[in-house]
C-alpha cells in the first residue's frame, strides 16, 4: 500500500512542478473501453466489460519536450463472454415456515482508475510540431470488480518507456504513440485469495499488503498503442478522436503464493476536446 501511495504522490509532484507554466493544453476524453480479461486464479472463463470512461489530460509543452499528466475513470458491467450476465438464486427460510426466492445478479460493474505522468523529449529538431519523441512514463492502474467473482482485481504501478510520432499539417494533427512497461509493482490477491491479516481491519490495505510484488518485463508484460487525430477549430480549441489498444499479461511465476496468470486486453475509442493554453 505504502509503495503505491509513494508512487502516486510522486506522480502528483511531477505534474505540479510544471503546472505553473501557461503553455500547453487541457483535454477531456470521454470514451468507451472494451475490456477482455481472463483471471486464471478465479477460473478459465473470459470476461468482458464495456466501460464508459472519462479521461482528463494536462500537458505542458516546452522547447525540449512535454510533460503530460493524465487521469481517467471507467465503469461497466463485467460478465463472462460465454454466459452474459449471470443470476444466482438465494432462498431464504422465514420464521413462519415459508421461503422467499430472490434471484440476485452474480455479475456487477467493474471500475477502473488510471493515472499517468509522462516526460517526453523531441528526438530531433521539430518543424511545426512534426517529429519523433520518446521518454519515460510513470503509470498507475487499478481494476476493482464489484461482482461475486473478483476477476481481474489488481493495482499496478509501472515505469514505462514510450516512443511516438507527431504529424501536423495545417489544422490537422495526428499522433501515434507506443509504450512498453519496463518494470512494475503489481498487486493482486495471493494464491489463497485471502487478505485476512491479524490486526489489520482495512480490507484495501490488507489487499496491498498481502499481494504486492515487483515484476520484471518477462513476468509482467504490458504494451499500449495510442493513435489520435485532432482538428484545430480555432487557436484555442480542437476536437478529435483517439483509439487505444492495450495488452497486459501477468505471467505464472516460479515459487509459491503468486496467483495464476492474468491477461487483459483493452480496446478503446474516445473523443477529445482540447483547450490550448497558448495560441498556436
Amino acid at each position: 500500500m505504502h509503495r503505491h501511495l509513494l508512487l502516486t504522490i510522486l506522480f502528483t509532484v511531477l505534474s505540479l512542478l510544471r503546472s505553473q507554466a501557461q503553455q500547453g493544453y487541457f483535454q477531456l476524453t470521454p470514451g468507451l473501453d472494451r475490456l477482455l480479461v481472463r483471471d486464471r486464479q478465479v477460473g478459465d472463463l473470459v470476461h468482458r466489460a464495456d466501460l464508459a470512461r472519462l479521461g482528463f489530460t494536462y500537458a505542458h509543452t516546452g522547447p525540449k519536450g512535454d510533460w503530460v499528466f493524465h487521469l481517467a475513470y471507467g465503469r461497466g458491467l463485467l460478465a463472462p463472454t460465454s454466459t452474459g450476465a449471470r443470476t444466482k438464486l438465494f432462498r431464504t427460510w422465514n420464521w413462519d415456515g415459508s421461503v422467499t426466492d430472490e434471484p440476485i445478479p452474480m455479475d456487477r460493474p467493474m471500475w477502473m482508475a488510471e493515472l499517468r505522468v509522462a516526460r517526453t523529449f523531441h528526438a530531433g529538431p521539430q518543424v511545426d510540431g512534426n517529429g519523433w519523441y520518446f521518454g519515460p512514463a510513470l503509470g498507475w492502474t487499478a481494476n476493482r470488480p464489484q461482482g461475486f467473482a473478483p476477476v481481474g482485481q489488481m493495482a499496478c504501478a509501472t515505469f514505462d518507456g514510450l516512443i511516438g510520432r507527431a504529424y501536423v499539417s495545417g489544422r490537422h494533427r495526428i499522433n501515434a504513440e507506443f509504450s512498453l512497461t519496463l518494470v512494475a509493482l503489481m498487486t493482486r490477491e495471493p494464491w489463497s485469495r485471502s487478505v485476512s491479516v491479524p490486526g489489520n481491519m482495512g480490507r484495501i490495505t490488507s489487499f496491498f499488503d498481502s499481494g504486492t510484488t515487483w515484476a520484471a518485463p518477462w513476468q509482467l508484460f504490458q504494451a499500449q498503442l495510442d493513435l489520435r487525430y485532432a482538428y484545430q477549430l480555432s487557436t484555442r480549441f480542437a476536437i478529435g478522436l483517439g483509439v487505444h489498444i492495450g495488452y497486459l499479461n501477468d505471467a505464472e511465476r516460479d515459487g509459491l503464493d503468486h496467483p495464476a496468470q492474468l491477461r487483459l486486453f483493452h480496446r478503446r475509442l474516445e473523443a477529445a476536446l482540447t483547450h490550448n493554453l497558448l495560441k498556436r
Binding site: D44, S196, V197
Partner: protein
C-alpha cells in the same frame, strides 16, 4: 503519412475485429463432463482442508466421474456435483448455479435455504429486553429484564466503524451492568479482523486463539507459514462475567470470535455447537459460469486442534426450540441469564 495510414488501418482492424480467440484462445468447454473436471481440479488445487478431512479427492473423483454424462440437465448436474462435495462436510463450500430457478447448494442448506428453528430475535426483543438500541446493521444491544446487558452481533461484515465505534459504544453503554450476554447464534461470519477486534473489547489478557496456514499453491502441501491470531485489549475491556451464546448458525468469523472469547476466564460459552466452518473461503468459477466457494486455509485453535466439520461445542449446552420461541421462551438465553451473577 503513409505509415500513419497503415497504422490507422491496422488499429481499426484490431478495434473492429473480435480478438478474443487470438488473445485468449478457445473458451473452456461447458458440457457436464468438462464442468465436473473443472470442479474436481479447482477443489484439488485450492481446497485447504484435505489433511483435516482425511479424504482422497482423486478416489472420490473416480467414484463420481462415471456418473457424469452428456445430456444431463442442470438440475441433475447440480445434484451430482453436490453429492461429491457433500463428502467434504464443509459449510463453507457453496455451489452457485447460474440460474434463477436452481438454488445454491451447501451442506447446511435444505433445498437452498438455511433453516434455523433455534433462534428468533423477535422473541428476545419482545420478551426479554427492557430496552433495545439498534446501532448499525451488525450490532444491536439492550438490557435484559434481570438488569444484565445483551449484545447481538448479527455478522462480522460491513465496515470498521461498525465495530470500532458501534460495538465499542454498545459495550461502553453496558459498562455499568454486572454481566453481559453476547449473542452470535445467527452470526454467519464475515471478516476475521473484525471478529478479532470485537473479541478485544472483552479481553483482559492477551492470548493466542488461532493458528492459520493458507494455501500458497496447487500442490497438496503448498501451505504458507503459520499465522498466529492473538486477542489483545482493543478498548477498556468489559471484565465482568460474560456469556457467549452460539448456535448452529454461528459460522466462520463468528466461530473464530468464539475461539478468541473462550481464551478469557470471565467468559462462559453456552448454547449449541457452532457450524464448523472456520477457514477463509474464496469464490471460483466453473466452465459453465457456475460458481463455487471453497475453504482455502487450515484454521485451528491455539492447541492445533481443528474443529472444521464438527463445530465448537459449548461448555454448557442450551438450545431453544421453535415451539418455545413462539411461546416467548428462549431456553438458551434463559440458561445464559442463569449463568450470570
Amino acid at each position: 503519412m503513409k505509415a500513419f495510414n497503415l497504422l490507422a488501418l491496422a488499429t481499426s482492424a484490431v478495434l473492429l475485429s473480435s480478438c478474443q480467440k487470438t488473445i485468449f484462445g478457445d473458451e473452456p468447454a461447458a458440457d457436464p463432463v468438462s464442468v465436473f473436471e473443472g470442479l474436481h481440479r479447482t477443489v484439488k488445487e485450492h481446497y485447504g482442508l484435505f489433511r483435516v478431512k482425511t479424504l482422497d479427492w482423486d478416489s472420490l473423483g473416480n467414484v463420481y466421474r462415471p456418473q457424469v454424462h452428456e445430456g444431463m440437465s442442470d438440475a441433475q448436474l447440480r445434484e451430482m456435483l453436490a453429492a461429491m462435495l457433500t463428502s467434504l462436510n464443509d459449510a463453507h463450500i457453496t455451489l452457485y448455479p447460474n440460474s434463477a430457478d436452481l438454488p445454491r447448494w451447501s451442506i447446511d442448506l435444505v433445498n437452498g435455504a438455511f433453516i434455523d428453528t433455534t433462534f428468533h430475535f423477535a422473541t428476545v426483543k419482545d420478551h426479554y429486553l427492557t430496552e433495545h438500541h439498534e446501532v448499525n446493521e451488525a450490532v444491536e444491544y439492550g438490557r435484559l429484564a434481570d438488569g444484565h446487558g445483551y449484545i447481538h452481533i448479527r455478522h462480522f461484515d460491513g465496515s470498521n466503524n461498525d465495530y470500532t465505534k458501534g460495538l465499542r459504544d454498545a459495550v461502553q453503554a453496558l459498562a455499568g451492568t454486572t454481566g453481559l450476554v453476547v449473542d452470535v447464534r445467527d452470526n454467519a461470519g464475515g471478516f476475521d479482523p473484525f471478529a478479532q477486534y470485537s473479541a478485544g473489547l472483552f479481553t483482559g489478557q492477551a492470548a493466542t486463539y488461532m493458528r492459520v496456514r493458507r494455501k500458497t499453491g496447487p500442490g497438496p502441501d503448498d501451505f504458507g507459514q503459520e499465522i498466529q491470531w492473538t486477542t489483545t485489549p482493543t478498548g477498556p475491556a468489559y471484565a465482568k462475567p460474560v456469556v457467549l451464546l452460539t448456535g448452529r448458525g454461528s459460522q466462520s468469523a463468528a466461530e473464530t470470535f468464539a475461539l478468541a472469547m473462550r481464551t478469557q476466564p470471565h467468559v462462559v460459552h453456552i448454547g449449541d455447537t457452532t457450524a464448523g466452518a472456520f477457514a477463509d473461503n474464496a469464490f471460483f468459477e466453473l466452465p459453465n459460469g457456475w460458481g463455487v466457494t471453497l475453504s482455502i486455509a487450515d484454521h485451528r485453535d491455539a492447541n492445533g486442534i481443528s474443529w472444521e466439520g464438527r463445530g465448537l461445542p459449548p461448555t454448557i449446552v442450551a438450545v431453544a426450540d421453535r415451539d418455545g420461541l413462539n411461546a416467548g421462551v428462549d431456553a438458551a438465553l434463559e440458561a445464559a441469564m442463569e449463568a450470570l451473577p
